[in-house]
Protein backbone atom coordinates (compact mmCIF):
# COMPACT_ATOMS: atom_id res chain seq x y z
CA UNK A 1 0.00 0.00 0.00
CA UNK A 2 1.22 3.45 -0.83
CA UNK A 3 1.91 5.65 2.15
CA UNK A 4 1.22 9.35 1.70
CA UNK A 5 2.64 12.03 3.95
CA UNK A 6 0.44 14.93 5.01
CA UNK A 7 2.53 17.18 2.80
CA UNK A 8 1.96 14.92 -0.21
CA UNK A 9 -1.78 14.72 0.36
CA UNK A 10 -2.21 18.45 0.76
CA UNK A 11 0.08 19.19 -2.19
CA UNK A 12 -1.98 16.98 -4.51
CA UNK A 13 -5.27 18.43 -3.28
CA UNK A 14 -3.85 21.93 -3.68
CA UNK A 15 -2.58 21.41 -7.23
CA UNK A 16 -5.86 19.94 -8.42
CA UNK A 17 -7.99 22.53 -6.65
CA UNK A 18 -6.15 25.18 -8.69
CA UNK A 19 -6.22 23.12 -11.89
CA UNK A 20 -7.55 24.78 -15.02
CA UNK A 21 -8.66 21.56 -16.68
CA UNK A 22 -9.57 23.07 -20.00
CA UNK A 23 -6.13 24.60 -20.40
CA UNK A 24 -3.83 22.09 -18.76
CA UNK A 25 -5.49 18.96 -20.16
CA UNK A 26 -5.22 20.00 -23.80
CA UNK A 27 -1.74 21.46 -23.22
CA UNK A 28 -0.46 18.19 -21.79
CA UNK A 29 -1.96 15.98 -24.48
CA UNK A 30 -0.86 18.21 -27.36
CA UNK A 31 2.64 18.40 -25.90
CA UNK A 32 2.73 14.60 -25.68
CA UNK A 33 1.61 14.19 -29.30
CA UNK A 34 4.24 16.69 -30.46
CA UNK A 35 7.19 15.68 -28.29
CA UNK A 36 6.57 11.93 -28.65
CA UNK A 37 5.04 11.70 -32.13
CA UNK A 38 4.59 7.93 -31.99
CA UNK A 39 1.80 8.51 -29.48
CA UNK A 40 -0.28 9.79 -32.40
CA UNK A 41 -0.85 6.17 -33.32
CA UNK A 42 -3.77 6.05 -30.90
CA UNK A 43 -5.59 8.99 -32.44
CA UNK A 44 -6.03 7.93 -36.05
CA UNK A 45 -9.58 9.19 -36.15
CA UNK A 46 -8.81 12.62 -34.69
CA UNK A 47 -8.28 14.22 -38.08
CA UNK A 48 -5.42 16.56 -38.81
CA UNK A 49 -2.33 15.83 -36.68
CA UNK A 50 0.20 16.61 -39.39
CA UNK A 51 2.19 19.24 -37.58
CA UNK A 52 2.43 21.01 -34.24
CA UNK A 53 0.09 23.82 -35.30
CA UNK A 54 -2.54 21.34 -36.46
CA UNK A 55 -2.29 19.36 -33.24
CA UNK A 56 -2.53 22.46 -31.10
CA UNK A 57 -5.60 23.66 -33.02
CA UNK A 58 -7.34 20.30 -33.11
CA UNK A 59 -10.62 20.44 -31.13
CA UNK A 60 -10.82 16.66 -30.66
CA UNK A 61 -7.37 16.65 -29.08
CA UNK A 62 -8.35 19.52 -26.81
CA UNK A 63 -11.54 17.80 -25.69
CA UNK A 64 -9.73 14.55 -25.07
CA UNK A 65 -7.00 16.29 -23.10
CA UNK A 66 -9.64 17.69 -20.76
CA UNK A 67 -11.26 14.26 -20.42
CA UNK A 68 -7.96 12.62 -19.52
CA UNK A 69 -7.15 15.24 -16.91
CA UNK A 70 -10.56 14.85 -15.29
CA UNK A 71 -9.77 11.14 -15.16
CA UNK A 72 -7.21 12.03 -12.50
CA UNK A 73 -9.96 13.48 -10.29
CA UNK A 74 -11.10 10.11 -9.07
CA UNK A 75 -7.52 9.40 -8.08
CA UNK A 76 -7.23 12.67 -6.19
CA UNK A 77 -10.38 11.71 -4.25
CA UNK A 78 -9.19 8.15 -3.58
CA UNK A 79 -5.49 8.42 -2.95
CA UNK A 80 -5.58 5.50 -0.54
CA UNK A 81 -6.87 2.99 -3.05
CA UNK A 82 -5.68 3.95 -6.48
CA UNK A 83 -5.39 0.31 -7.55
CA UNK A 84 -9.12 -0.32 -7.24
CA UNK A 85 -10.02 3.17 -8.41
CA UNK A 86 -8.32 2.65 -11.77
CA UNK A 87 -9.01 -1.07 -12.29
CA UNK A 88 -11.80 -0.45 -14.75
CA UNK A 89 -9.87 2.17 -16.71
CA UNK A 90 -6.91 -0.17 -16.77
CA UNK A 91 -8.99 -2.88 -18.40
CA UNK A 92 -10.34 -0.32 -20.86
CA UNK A 93 -6.87 0.86 -21.88
CA UNK A 94 -5.65 -2.69 -22.26
CA UNK A 95 -8.55 -4.57 -23.78
CA UNK A 96 -10.31 -1.92 -25.79
CA UNK A 97 -7.84 0.88 -26.49
CA UNK A 98 -4.71 -1.28 -26.70
CA UNK A 99 -2.47 1.45 -25.37
CA UNK A 100 1.14 0.51 -24.60
CA UNK A 101 1.47 1.35 -20.89
CA UNK A 102 4.83 3.04 -21.53
CA UNK A 103 2.78 5.88 -22.97
CA UNK A 104 1.24 6.66 -19.59
CA UNK A 105 4.65 7.72 -18.36
CA UNK A 106 5.21 9.92 -21.41
CA UNK A 107 1.93 11.72 -20.84
CA UNK A 108 2.61 12.15 -17.13
CA UNK A 109 6.04 13.68 -17.91
CA UNK A 110 4.34 16.17 -20.23
CA UNK A 111 1.72 16.93 -17.59
CA UNK A 112 4.47 17.57 -15.02
CA UNK A 113 6.14 20.02 -17.39
CA UNK A 114 2.89 21.86 -18.13
CA UNK A 115 2.11 22.15 -14.41
CA UNK A 116 5.69 23.32 -13.75
CA UNK A 117 5.26 26.03 -16.38
CA UNK A 118 2.03 27.22 -14.77
CA UNK A 119 3.20 27.14 -11.16
CA UNK A 120 6.67 28.57 -11.77
CA UNK A 121 8.59 29.02 -8.53
CA UNK A 122 5.82 27.44 -6.48
CA UNK A 123 6.60 24.13 -8.17
CA UNK A 124 9.43 23.37 -5.77
CA UNK A 125 11.39 20.13 -5.76
CA UNK A 126 9.21 18.81 -2.92
CA UNK A 127 6.01 19.69 -4.77
CA UNK A 128 7.41 18.07 -7.91
CA UNK A 129 8.27 14.93 -5.96
CA UNK A 130 4.73 14.68 -4.54
CA UNK A 131 3.13 15.30 -7.93
CA UNK A 132 5.33 12.79 -9.72
CA UNK A 133 4.75 10.21 -6.97
CA UNK A 134 0.98 10.60 -7.39
CA UNK A 135 1.23 10.28 -11.16
CA UNK A 136 3.54 7.27 -10.84
CA UNK A 137 1.03 5.42 -8.68
CA UNK A 138 -1.82 6.28 -11.08
CA UNK A 139 0.32 5.09 -14.00
CA UNK A 140 1.11 1.87 -12.17
CA UNK A 141 -2.59 1.30 -11.37
CA UNK A 142 -3.50 1.90 -14.99
CA UNK A 143 -1.03 -0.75 -16.06
CA UNK A 144 -2.11 -3.38 -13.56
CA UNK A 145 -4.88 -5.09 -15.49
CA UNK A 146 -2.77 -5.71 -18.57
CA UNK A 147 -2.00 -9.32 -19.31
Amino acid sequence: MVVWTDFERSTIQDIFSKMDYEVVGPAALTRCLIVYPWTQRYFGNFGNLYNAAAIMGNPMVAKHGTTILHGLDRGVKNMDDLKTTYAELSVLHSEKLHVDPDNFKLLSDCLTIVVAARFGEAFTAEVQAAFQKFLAVVVSSLGRQYH
Binding site: T30, R31, I34, V35, A52, I55, M56, D109, T112, I113, V114, A116, A117, R118, F119, G120, E121, F123, A125, E126, Q128, A129, Q132
Partner: protein, 134 residues
Protein backbone atom coordinates in the same frame (compact mmCIF):
# COMPACT_ATOMS: atom_id res chain seq x y z
CA UNK B 1 11.77 29.78 -29.13
CA UNK B 2 14.82 28.95 -31.13
CA UNK B 3 17.91 27.53 -29.66
CA UNK B 4 19.30 31.02 -29.65
CA UNK B 5 16.99 31.15 -26.73
CA UNK B 6 19.66 28.98 -25.37
CA UNK B 7 21.04 32.47 -24.89
CA UNK B 8 18.26 32.77 -22.37
CA UNK B 9 19.28 29.41 -21.09
CA UNK B 10 23.01 30.08 -21.16
CA UNK B 11 22.55 33.29 -19.17
CA UNK B 12 20.85 31.32 -16.39
CA UNK B 13 22.86 28.15 -16.98
CA UNK B 14 24.36 27.98 -13.50
CA UNK B 15 21.00 28.49 -11.80
CA UNK B 16 19.32 25.99 -14.10
CA UNK B 17 21.99 23.38 -13.46
CA UNK B 18 21.85 23.81 -9.70
CA UNK B 19 18.05 23.72 -9.58
CA UNK B 20 17.80 20.68 -11.88
CA UNK B 21 20.38 18.77 -9.89
CA UNK B 22 18.85 19.52 -6.51
CA UNK B 23 15.42 18.67 -7.87
CA UNK B 24 16.75 15.35 -9.10
CA UNK B 25 18.16 14.53 -5.67
CA UNK B 26 14.75 15.21 -4.08
CA UNK B 27 12.43 13.74 -6.70
CA UNK B 28 14.58 10.68 -7.44
CA UNK B 29 16.30 9.90 -4.14
CA UNK B 30 18.10 6.91 -5.63
CA UNK B 31 20.34 9.39 -7.47
CA UNK B 32 21.80 10.46 -4.14
CA UNK B 33 23.83 7.27 -4.16
CA UNK B 34 26.24 8.90 -6.60
CA UNK B 35 27.00 11.76 -4.25
CA UNK B 36 27.65 10.11 -0.92
CA UNK B 37 30.96 11.98 -0.84
CA UNK B 38 29.25 15.37 -0.61
CA UNK B 39 28.68 16.73 2.90
CA UNK B 40 25.49 18.53 1.92
CA UNK B 41 22.90 17.52 -0.67
CA UNK B 42 20.50 20.41 -0.04
CA UNK B 43 19.62 22.97 -2.70
CA UNK B 44 21.92 25.61 -1.25
CA UNK B 45 24.85 23.27 -1.02
CA UNK B 46 28.01 24.54 -2.63
CA UNK B 47 28.70 21.05 -4.01
CA UNK B 48 25.30 20.94 -5.70
CA UNK B 49 25.64 24.43 -7.15
CA UNK B 50 29.12 23.77 -8.41
CA UNK B 51 28.21 20.47 -9.94
CA UNK B 52 25.14 21.95 -11.61
CA UNK B 53 27.52 24.41 -13.24
CA UNK B 54 29.71 21.55 -14.45
CA UNK B 55 26.78 19.70 -15.94
CA UNK B 56 25.56 22.77 -17.82
CA UNK B 57 29.10 23.32 -19.04
CA UNK B 58 28.96 19.84 -20.51
CA UNK B 59 25.69 20.68 -22.18
CA UNK B 60 27.14 23.87 -23.62
CA UNK B 61 29.97 21.76 -25.02
CA UNK B 62 27.42 19.40 -26.53
CA UNK B 63 25.62 22.33 -28.18
CA UNK B 64 28.88 23.38 -29.81
CA UNK B 65 29.41 19.84 -31.07
CA UNK B 66 25.82 19.25 -32.02
CA UNK B 67 26.69 17.91 -35.47
CA UNK B 68 28.80 15.10 -34.08
CA UNK B 69 27.89 14.48 -30.48
CA UNK B 70 29.60 11.10 -30.34
CA UNK B 71 32.98 12.58 -31.26
CA UNK B 72 32.42 15.80 -29.34
CA UNK B 73 31.51 14.05 -26.09
CA UNK B 74 34.01 11.21 -26.34
CA UNK B 75 36.05 12.30 -23.33
CA UNK B 76 32.99 12.91 -21.18
CA UNK B 77 31.65 9.53 -22.21
CA UNK B 78 34.85 7.84 -21.16
CA UNK B 79 34.76 9.68 -17.85
CA UNK B 80 31.18 8.58 -17.19
CA UNK B 81 31.88 5.04 -18.34
CA UNK B 82 35.14 4.26 -16.63
CA UNK B 83 35.36 6.58 -13.66
CA UNK B 84 31.92 7.76 -12.67
CA UNK B 85 30.08 4.65 -13.84
CA UNK B 86 26.71 6.37 -13.77
CA UNK B 87 23.87 4.11 -14.87
CA UNK B 88 22.74 5.66 -18.18
CA UNK B 89 19.11 5.48 -17.03
CA UNK B 90 19.96 8.47 -14.87
CA UNK B 91 20.71 10.65 -17.91
CA UNK B 92 17.01 10.49 -18.72
CA UNK B 93 16.14 11.44 -15.18
CA UNK B 94 18.39 14.50 -15.13
CA UNK B 95 17.21 15.52 -18.62
CA UNK B 96 13.62 15.49 -17.36
CA UNK B 97 14.54 17.65 -14.37
CA UNK B 98 16.30 20.18 -16.62
CA UNK B 99 13.18 20.35 -18.78
CA UNK B 100 11.01 20.96 -15.71
CA UNK B 101 13.29 23.83 -14.63
CA UNK B 102 13.30 25.39 -18.09
CA UNK B 103 9.49 25.10 -18.25
CA UNK B 104 9.20 26.84 -14.90
CA UNK B 105 11.59 29.65 -15.85
CA UNK B 106 10.41 30.26 -19.41
CA UNK B 107 6.76 29.12 -19.54
CA UNK B 108 5.90 31.21 -22.58
CA UNK B 109 9.00 30.29 -24.58
CA UNK B 110 9.01 26.60 -23.79
CA UNK B 111 6.41 25.74 -26.41
CA UNK B 112 5.80 22.15 -27.49
CA UNK B 113 8.06 22.75 -30.52
CA UNK B 114 10.85 24.01 -28.31
CA UNK B 115 10.25 21.11 -25.94
CA UNK B 116 10.58 18.47 -28.65
CA UNK B 117 13.78 20.07 -29.94
CA UNK B 118 15.39 20.21 -26.52
CA UNK B 119 14.20 16.72 -25.57
CA UNK B 120 15.55 15.32 -28.83
CA UNK B 121 18.87 17.07 -28.18
CA UNK B 122 19.10 15.71 -24.63
CA UNK B 123 18.37 12.22 -25.93
CA UNK B 124 21.25 12.63 -28.38
CA UNK B 125 23.53 13.85 -25.62
CA UNK B 126 22.54 10.94 -23.36
CA UNK B 127 23.22 8.49 -26.17
CA UNK B 128 26.63 10.03 -26.86
CA UNK B 129 27.47 9.95 -23.17
CA UNK B 130 26.67 6.24 -23.04
CA UNK B 131 28.74 5.44 -26.17
CA UNK B 132 31.85 4.27 -24.38
CA UNK B 133 30.10 2.15 -21.78
CA UNK B 134 30.27 -1.10 -23.72
Amino acid sequence: MSLTDKDKISKSADAIGADALSRMLVVYPQTKTYFSHWPDLGPNSASVKNHGKNVMGGIALAVSKIDDLTAGLLELSEQHAFQLRVDPANFKILSHCILVVIAGLFPKDFTPEAHVAVDKFFCGVSLALAERYR
